[in-house]
Symmetry: C2
Subunit: 739 residues, 2 copies
């Protein structure tokens, strides 16, 4: 007992010292000196109590059988997780939503000419991986929210199937009208591929994993190594998530038992054409049978063929039928009521549903969250109760399109808008470097955390290790941890982009690459061999996410800060204006080369390349509303920063100030949302309409310019200017309150 | 008859008009107004007389059977070409040299573990290509000047086998000492691969054509398309040509019948370890059997495997025996004596020997040269005799290492130094864009030619088409035709880099890519389907090379000019100083990352990557000698340009001036040559010691810096400074003479 105490003291002193030296000259953001000392002691105890073996045991159990939405084992997972939360002292409930979740009844893909071939559409078991033998309970390879379909047509290879690829097709005079396209995975989120193909008139879409991007050219394939073998198939949703995630039949409101539901045919986010993911084993005969133009060399993958575009002579017959049932999505919601600020909620979440076993995705993140919750619960029972309410969530039905989290957020929107301080998300995680995206209003706060959590392999802070990677890759040395901007792809979207709740998405990776994502092979066996075998990074994630949650829960004044945010947005604004100038130059240059006949001179008369169309002229935009808004934002951010500094020692708790600070992120949203996708209300960050997961910052303006909608671009510039002014005023209120 | 004359007149007027408008405001460089009119009329007649069907007929005949050095059909080719030259009025002789030319007696490549595999080492006939059935007379796949050898060892994959690749191996702690390496073709000239491997301690070397660089990922393979099929093997010399080309047994002097010859074991340019080229069909089982570290992703080729480095477990047994005989190399030398300046020679050459049939390489260039010579002969017989002597050459034994041309140049060195005005080389040629390398003292002259010769597909000048390609590829628009700097790889090297004779290397390409180079499939059949089927670009090459030769032969004052040269060299000097600065920064940065432990933080402890060694510091060099030399060069170049302008209308012929001008290029050479390779005497251009064909400009300084020989770098800076001063004085003499 004595030993432990003195060890704790020494280690606490060391931690304090390191904190002092590394990053916290200004003290712990949001804490008075006294609260800071308490908080650091708490975090130290927290670290001590984390146990890697728990993560291992729970992963083994939770990924023991396939547990997709509506499956028997999903309920086992939910009940297990809920029981644990209860055991740890959380007030726990399971909220059920009934969501549309189609599963395959019939999947058939045949080539009927010029030769015959029937795709296997199966992922056989591999030696040494017992999980991979559990094929009966597993969902096979398919894309959720593909419509039923029975289509036969010539095949066309469209590279990644993103808009730029169709420009290459146009140069060659190739149309996909009435054809079935085959696209490689990657280059965009998968749902973009059938969406763009349908816009271009295709009647079916195949998506395959090419071995260059995701197979033997990445490394040894499973089970020799972790990379995708010839049979691996990436499952995944293809709903129009950049339009809106969540249950397609209850857009904007909770899919409760009694909710009014759309007819399936009226659901706006279902994909328009049948789409099926296949392995490279199944893709090879199809691609080999294609004729027509040879694909541009940048389209080449790793198959031992000359990649042709077609159309044909390969003719394929794709037949898909799904069971269009409602399935239960269970959210486990575990609450630890705040001791002094119960109506300010720090929300922490990770989904539990998987495409198959999901050892990495999502269980690796879920077990870190559980261990974090276990220790938070234990500390609370030992008297270290959080000031604010902490809500730990295990989401259901994330895989088909963030259904569980979105329905919960839509159901509790009004309460969340008032109470939610922040949302901290995790999902699959691995070994290596800390990756963190989030609200830049919390970047300075988060930076302090990255300086005190140690990398388990190198014994330096996770910041130092990540920074080393930036430097060695030739990027600029970081002065502080730089949060990436959040697009989509996990459960933070409804919190962040729909309601304007400051959010994080956290994980480790870079030394645990593989090809198991959404396949039959994302198993405990694979995870233990190739990902984070000793769960040391799982524990480190618990330290990072746990500190983030605990500091937010215990801060005297919420640690929002606006100079990092303003500098970051300033960078986005520069990108925007440069993009407009670059596009204008590019367009002018393109038209000049066309008009002067320069392009024509480079066309090989023996190849069927056609001259491109002239590009529309890009006008000069009036960016003044943005610049004016930024000027105000800079002024108020600076003023707030001075106030923090002045009052660092007298961080008296102020509920009114905290409420104002919570609302700063809300001030970045507008009720009308983004053009043509009102669900996305945040005007600083959104997933790209044509990238999917990939973020578009200042999305209203950026996408309008990118897509050539120049009138809309000017309208969005005005709106963004207003948002920035509104935001500045919100910060100004906080400044005044600090006086 | 009447019709022809008026057609000629109109077309001449059009030509003159276009000349005036396009580029010849200053008049025809080197010609008085009167001589220019005559010359342009001559060129017009020249163009009219060229016949594409001759090229076709001659190619069909000359590539009808394999005709490598010493083969029966090589003599047929030589006698045919010589007879034609005689028929066209040239004084023609066949000069014979007896050169070392090893041919295979035994080639065996087996994998003896962990599984057994015997390489086929054959290129089977393909449907529709009768030439490919003539396997009996053909040399099989081999690398000339590999030593005999019988080696068994573990295999190591070394990517392209260039020095940078061995740095990657060192990072992984992998040595090739005592191993057999397997390298991909490309990335350097082939001879570099066994040279570097031997320096690193390897005992054998395989070189294969990877389908990504040279096979199905380039396009459809032969016979469907022109790209390399799985059996194609690139033959080729691996003598140490960057040390010196030519017969290895008679270094620096002619391999005449009575020459004193080295013993084979004393020949300095033979490769040190046995080396064999193989197809990707034969490489696949070997590469698939490799274990050890996974290769860096940039090393991946197009084979359907995970590329591993090894060493082993693949163990290969390579056994090679060669017939080390002297073979006759026949040079056909056809002379048309100059009417007024017989002792000033314009030399035009293309080789005739091939690895197999050589329809593209070299016959496509040879038939263009022949047609050019035929018409030059015809015009001479019609009274349009060239002022200077024109020497048309068909070289033997180019393929094993420029043997025929080098021995001829070495034999006639003294006469050539006095008489040679310039050497114009061609070799294999195709369809598309004019490619031209050469002496920048003739760039302005050559630029005029590129503006008057029309592209046969587009009806614009070959300059405009090439310029369009530069622009569309995003490079800078050309103000004039930019000659590339000559490295090596064809018969200009002995003229240019050994004797300092201003040279050109000309050809067309860019729309006729294929994989036939040095394989059994470089046939008439392939050429007619995929290269320049109607020989319209062959005729265009005759127009470009013919004009170049005829203008040099007829100019009143030789059209050398030094401002283009000086600007170009100024660019090289900037590259050099920037390279030294970049290397210094890189070295400092590398050492800093190492010392601060930043590198260490990015090493994955589960991978066997070791920390790199610190890099030596790069000193600051005293570049003043070069800058001072350049200042003088600029001054004199400018002075000479003014003189040309002033006296444009009174271009009185001056033999003394012409002789001075000839010697300007000689002034760029030094008797002692480059460090460790005295045969290369030119101090502005050389093939790279570690790139082979690839040029290194200002080679003494550049290579010393690149290779970290910093003391030598400073010595070479002094030498280059002296060369530049010497050169300036030579130009100054010309300036004074022009007064």
């Amino acid at each position: 007992m004595k030993l432990t105490t003195s060890f704790l003291l020494i280690s606490m002193l060391l931690t304090l010292f390191s904190v002092e030296v590394n990053s916290q000259k200004d003290g712990l953001l949001g804490f008075s000196a006294e609260s800071a000392a308490n908080q650091l002691e708490l975090e130290n105890q927290f670290d001590e109590l984390l146990k890697a073996e728990n993560l291992d045991q729970w992963m083994k159990h939770l990924s023991a059988r396939p547990h997709h939405v509506g499956s028997p084992y999903d309920k086992v997972v939910v009940d297990f997780v809920a029981a644990k939360f209860r055991e740890w002292g959380f007030e726990t409930k399971i909220e059920r939503f009934d969501v549309l979740f189609p599963t395959p009844k019939l999947r058939s893909l045949k080539m009927i000419g010029p030769e015959e071939f029937t795709a296997s559409l199966t992922e056989p078991p591999v030696p040494g991986d017992l999980s991979s033998t559990q094929t009966e309970e597993a969902l096979p390879g398919y894309n959720a929210f593909s419509p039923d379909g029975d289509v036969t047509a010539e095949l066309v290879f469209v590279n990644y199937g993103i808009p730029a690829d169709y420009e290459e097709l146009e140069k060659r005079g190739i149309s996909v009208e009435g054809k079935i396209v085959i696209a490689k995975y990657q280059g965009s989120w998968r749902g973009i591929k059938p969406k763009v193909a349908a816009e271009k008139g295709a009647i079916g879409c195949l998506i395959y994993s090419d071995p260059k991007d995701d197979g033997y050219h990445r490394g040894d394939v499973y089970p020799v190594g972790p990379f995708k073998n010839e049979h691996g198939v990436q499952r995944g949703s293809v709903m129009d998530m950049p339009f809106a995630p969540g249950d397609p039949l209850t857009p904007g409101y909770g899919a409760t038992a009694d909710a009014v539901r759309l007819e399936i045919e009226d659901a706006p986010t279902l994909t328009k054409i049948p789409v099926l993911p296949i392995s490279y084993h199944d893709a090879l005969p199809l691609l080999r049978a294609l004729g027509g133009a040879v694909a541009p060399s940048s389209w080449n993958g790793g198959l031992p063929i000359t990649y042709h575009i077609g159309p044909g002579p390969a003719i394929v017959h794709l037949k898909l039928e799904f069971d269009w049932q409602l399935k239960p999505a269970y959210d486990v919601i575990a609450t630890l009521k705040g001791s002094t600020l119960p109506d300010e909620w720090v929300i922490r979440g990770n989904h539990h549903d998987a495409w198959v076993h999901g050892a990495a995705d999502p269980i690796s993140g879920l077990v870190a969250l559980m261990e974090e919750a276990r220790v938070v619960g234990q500390l609370a029972r030992q008297g270290q109760h959080p000031k604010r309410t902490m809500v730990y969530c295990a989401w259901g039905a994330e895989e088909p399109g963030l259904l569980g989290s979105t329905e919960w957020v839509e159901t509790h929107a009004e309460e969340l808008k008032t109470k939610a301080v922040a949302y901290i998300n995790t999902d699959g995680t691995g070994r290596g470097y800390l990756g963190a995206g989030g609200s830049h209003t919390l970047e300075k706060f988060f930076n302090q955390i990255t300086h005190v959590v140690q990398d388990p392999q190198k014994g330096v802070s996770v910041f130092d290790r990540r920074n080393a990677s930036e430097i060695v890759r030739g990027r600029k040395k970081w002065q502080h941890f730089e949060l990436s901007a959040l697009g989509s792809g996990s459960d933070y979207s409804p919190f962040f982009q729909h309601l304007g709740i400051a959010s994080f998405n956290l994980g480790f990776g870079g030394e645990s690459s593989g090809g198991e994502y959404h396949t039959m092979y994302d198993s405990y066996e694979l995870y233990k061999r190739f990902k984070d075998p000793d769960f040391v990074y799982g524990v480190t994630l618990a330290k990072v996410a746990g500190r983030t949650s605990l500091r937010l829960a215990n801060a005297d004044v919420l640690p929002f800060e606006f100079e990092h945010f303003t500098n970051t947005v300033d960078g986005y604004v520069n990108e925007l204006t440069k993009m407009a100038d670059d596009l204008r130059d590019k367009s002018e240059r393109h038209n000049q080369l066309l008009n002067e006949g320069i392009y024509e001179l480079t066309l090989d008369p023996k190849e069927s390349i056609v001259l491109p169309d002239p590009k529309p002229e890009v006008p000069f935009f009036n960016f003044a509303p943005i610049h004016n808004g930024m000027a105000q934002l800079k002024k108020q951010s600076k003023a707030y920063a001075s106030k923090i500094k002045e009052s660092a020692d007298s961080n008296a708790q102020s509920n009114e100030l905290n409420q104002l600070l919570i609302n700063v992120e809300r001030a970045m949203t507008r009720d009308h949302g983004l053009p043509r996708r009102p669900w996305y209300k945040h005007h600083i960050y959104a997933p790209g309409f044509y990238t999917g997961y990939g973020v578009k910052t200042l999305p209203g303006v950026r996408e309008a310019i990118e897509e050539g909608s120049y009138v809309e671009a000017q309208e969005q510039i005005e709106i963004l200017g207003e948002v920035l002014v509104h935001l500045s005023k919100q910060i100004e209120k906080a400044v005044q309150l600090k006086n």
